[in-house]
């Protein structure tokens, strides 16, 4: 093999591998990226059962109940409209998880219409708001901010 050729072959192999990685990434991202839903979006156009998604909104007041095992909770998440999605979660709740505060639930929708959360992200402190809740329209954000502050006190 001539010198020029070997260099060319190396470059081609490297390019093929990198482009392959890029295509694979693009394909996998389309399938595996975790889309974010507001409750009204989820009610109007629910994701496929079992598909990993994130649901973000506010924990409806008076909806939080703890099951007999002491570690499973159910609550409902509301957004800007009346739509409310029931959520079930087994695990330790985030420190500042209270009714009326903002939450992002990671998980998937069950066949019965209940969202099974595998992880809950709540407000950590006054500086940290789950990213998805940051850009909610101003009215909702203001409402949430005031409510979460009340929840903190």
């Amino acid at each position: 093999m001539k010198a020029k050729h070997q260099r060319l072959v190396l470059v081609v192999i490297a390019l093929v591998a990198i482009i392959g990685a890029g295509l694979l990434a693009a394909w996998a991202l389309r399938n595996q990226a975790n889309y974010f839903y507001l409750p009204e979006q989820m009610a109007a156009d629910p994701p496929a059962v079992g598909q990993a998604v994130r649901l973000g909104g506010m924990v409806e007041k008076g909806s939080l109940t703890t099951a007999a095992d002491g570690v499973t909770v159910t609550f409902r998440v509301t957004g800007n409209s009346d739509a409310a999605i029931p959520v079930r979660y087994t695990g330790i709740l985030p420190d500042l998880f209270v009714e009326g505060s903002g939450v992002v639930a990671e998980g998937s929708l069950g066949a019965d219409g209940v969202f099974r959360a595998t992880n809950l992200l709540a407000k950590h402190d006054e500086n940290y708001v789950p990213r998805e809740l940051e850009g909610m329209d101003t009215a909702a954000a203001a409402k949430m901010a005031s409510e979460t502050t009340v929840g903190l006190n």
Binding site: R7, I13, G22, A26, F36, G70, N127, E134
Partner: protein, 660 residues
């Protein structure tokens, strides 16, 4: 006064960086022999700049140590009641301080290069120092114009507002400084690569100068990532050791690039092959460091690492990033054609295996990069997504598995060309081990696919790591080779830890009344009582758990739920019971309405091997540096003795013959 000295030192350092740029450029234009008078200043400028940047950092450290509340940064990030060690580490637990640390490390590594590097031709070193000065100048501008750490308050604050409690941990003392030193150590590799490219000096001599810097940066990155992973594991209380968080990825990407660079620079040093590829990796590695800095420091991400959410700063770093990366790749594109072709090699050779692994590492880097940036891209179109383990794990495994397989046999191959028959036995042995372990483990139960594969690979790699020593006199094996063996064995150990954590972890979540017990794995855990406790700047509720394994004596574990008051925040302090074969991980949650407490327990077999493996990899890197430095010193010594002897002989020959 302290703040003013620091600020003045910083301005002076910036001016010296400009001088270093000009002087280095003059050396580049001047050519060998006819050195321009300006070129003399490049080395001293770099050294003095390093001293001044260190002085500025020391001033900030002092301000934090005495909690000088007239400085804005101290007032917003520290608190007089904080334990002393966290006052010190809090210096870099914020945006401005951490950027100052970044720039200080940059200046110090430039200074070290200028002070001690004597092997490179002056023109190449001048160009290198010019590039280093140019990079430093941009980051000084960033610090001085948009994130001044020494800004005074008009009226001193009465009390500071404290440090994020998640950062009030001994981890903050190790993780950011080592990671930054690693990030920024790559800047020297970058500058050297640009310098060699500009002066057409790409070759084995240049690779030998670059190698210790790459190795050193890589060792520090490895340690920083390992420490960060363990810190997140015990501090966040989520029981995981890697979350594919964008900020974690930001540290992983330079590591992947540096790993590839480390291997290709060795090929260049030993065999004079892969010239352009090494240069490109040098540019890529530091680009990833800067991208990581941008992701973490610009506020485009929300996480414990993102201190500042200020669009101006983000735009500034993005501008610097575009300038440096764009400029470097433009020079690369213009000059790469002029780099002469290196030595050739057959596909089946050690070079071939290293090229394959380089390409695989780059592919993994691409996967991680795309996954990290994808949410930012879609957000521009108002679609919000998050990308997590379901994407990263399989997509990176597709490239990691072939890479690990080649890693097992690559070191057995000969340079230049080899025959497959020669390593038949070793290949069969490794393959048999991998398949045997996978078959044996799946016989005992059904486990997820990736951890199962990981267990098999770990067994194969663990043995394969030592095969290069077969048939050699152990006492005569070079230190650098021991380093390689150890680092590769460390990969196997870490892989074993990851795989057994993934395959065998037992989790138990229960609400327990005081006096009640739960079982996890072969441990029985009794909740004795829950008591309130207080620390210097927090209060907490603490569970006392009596853990019994079989009939043994109970061990007390005390997980806490802490409440800090400045800033007001709660954290969960996990409690760990470490055994040689794993860790028991306990977290206390909320109290249910009926008075029971939530407990979350994990038994994680061999999870500690992940971090032992990381340390072994770093130790391997240290041995490689030590071995290279020793060889280099020996060579210098031999050359000096040779020169002395020749001088003696000449003196003898010239001396008059004594009269007899």
């Amino acid at each position: 006064m302290i703040a003013e000295i620091g600020l003045a030192a910083l301005w002076l350092a910036a001016a010296l960086a400009a001088l270093q740029l000009v002087a280095g450029a003059a050396a580049l234009r001047g050519g060998e022999g006819a050195a321009s008078p300006l070129a003399l200043y490049a080395r001293p400028a770099a050294v003095v700049q390093a001293l001044l940047a260190s002085l500025a950092f020391a001033m900030l450290l002092y301000a934090f140590a005495v909690t000088d509340l007239s400085i804005k940064l101290v007032a917003t990030n520290s608190h007089s009641m904080k334990p002393f060690i966290y006052k010190l580490t809090g210096t870099w637990g914020n945006h401005e301080g951490s950027m100052l640390l970044w720039v200080t490390v940059l200046a110090v590594s430039g200074g070290l290069l200028a002070a001690f590097e004597r092997r490179l031709p002056e023109r190449t070193l001048g160009a290198t120092l010019a590039v280093q000065g140019f990079v430093a100048l941009g980051f000084y501008a960033f610090l001085l114009l948009s994130s001044n750490p020494f800004e005074r308050l008009p009226v001193p604050a009465a009390e500071g507002s404290g440090l994020n409690p998640l950062l009030q941990d001994i981890g903050l003392a190790f993780h950011p400084p080592t990671l930054y030193a690693g990030y920024v150590g790559l800047s020297v590799a970058f500058s050297l690569a640009m310098g060699a490219l500009l002066t057409r000096a790409v070759g084995p001599a240049f690779a030998r100068v670059m190698r210790p810097w790459v190795l050193g940066a890589w060792v520090l990155l490895t340690l920083g990532i390992t420490a960060g992973s363990y810190w997140a594991y015990y501090e966040l209380g989520w029981g995981g050791w890697w979350f594919w968080d964008p900020v974690e990825n930001a540290s992983l990407m330079p590591w992947l690039a540096a790993t590839a660079l480390l291997h290709s620079v060795s090929v260049l040093a030993a065999r004079d092959a892969l010239r352009t590829w090494t240069i490109m990796l040098g540019v890529l590695a530091f680009s990833m460091s800067m991208l990581g800095t941008f992701l973490v420091r610009s506020g485009v991400l929300t996480s414990v690492h993102a201190f500042a959410v200020d669009p101006e700063r983000g735009a500034f770093i993005l501008g610097l990033l575009a300038l440096y990366i764009g400029g470097a790749f433009a020079i690369f594109a213009l000059r790469a054609g002029a780099v002469a072709e290196g030595k050739r090699f057959a596909a089946l050779s050690r070079e071939g295996a290293l090229v394959f692994n380089n390409v695989m590492l780059s592919a993994i880097l691409g996967i991680v990069l795309l996954g990290t940036l994808y949410p930012l891209l879609t957000e521009a179109f108002d679609v919000r997504v998050s990308v997590g383990p379901p994407y990263f794990n399989p997509a990176s495994a597709i490239f990691a598995v072939p890479m690990l397989l080649v890693m097992a046999v690559g070191p057995l191959l000969r340079w230049r060309a080899d025959r497959p028959e020669r390593i038949q036995f070793e290949v069969m042995l490794v393959a048999a081990l991998i398949i045997g372990v996978i078959a044996a483990v799946s016989f005992f139960g059904s486990f997820p696919f990736l951890p199962l594969l990981g267990l098999g690979l770990a067994a194969g790699l663990g043995v394969a790591a030592f095969l290069p020593l077969r048939g050699r006199r152990l006492a005569r094996v070079p230190v650098a080779t021991w380093g390689m063996v150890l680092a590769h064995f460390g990969v196997a150990v870490a892989l074993f830890g990851m795989a057994s954590e993934g395959a065998f972890t037992k989790e138990r979540l229960a609400a327990v009344a005081p006096g009640g017990s739960v079982e996890v794995g072969d441990f029985a855990v009794t909740l004795e009582r829950v008591v309130p406790v207080a620390g210097p700047n927090w209060t907490a509720i603490e569970a006392r758990l009596a853990v019994r394994q079989g009939d043994g004596a109970p061990v007390i574990l005390t997980p806490q739920a802490r409440n800090f008051w400045s800033p007001p925040q709660s954290t969960s302090e996990s409690a760990l019971l470490t055994r040689w074969n794993g860790q028991l991980y306990a977290v206390i949650g909320n109290q249910a309405a009926d008075g029971r407490w939530q407990l979350r327990l994990w038994w994680k077999p061999f999870v500690t091997f992940i971090w032992y493996g990381g340390m072994l990899i770093a130790l391997g890197g240290v041995l490689a540096i030590a071995g290279r430095v020793r060889v280099d010193l020996k060579r210098r010594m031999a050359r000096r003795q040779g020169a002395a002897r020749r001088a003696d002989l000449e003196a003898l020959a010239g001396a008059p013959v004594p009269a007899e």
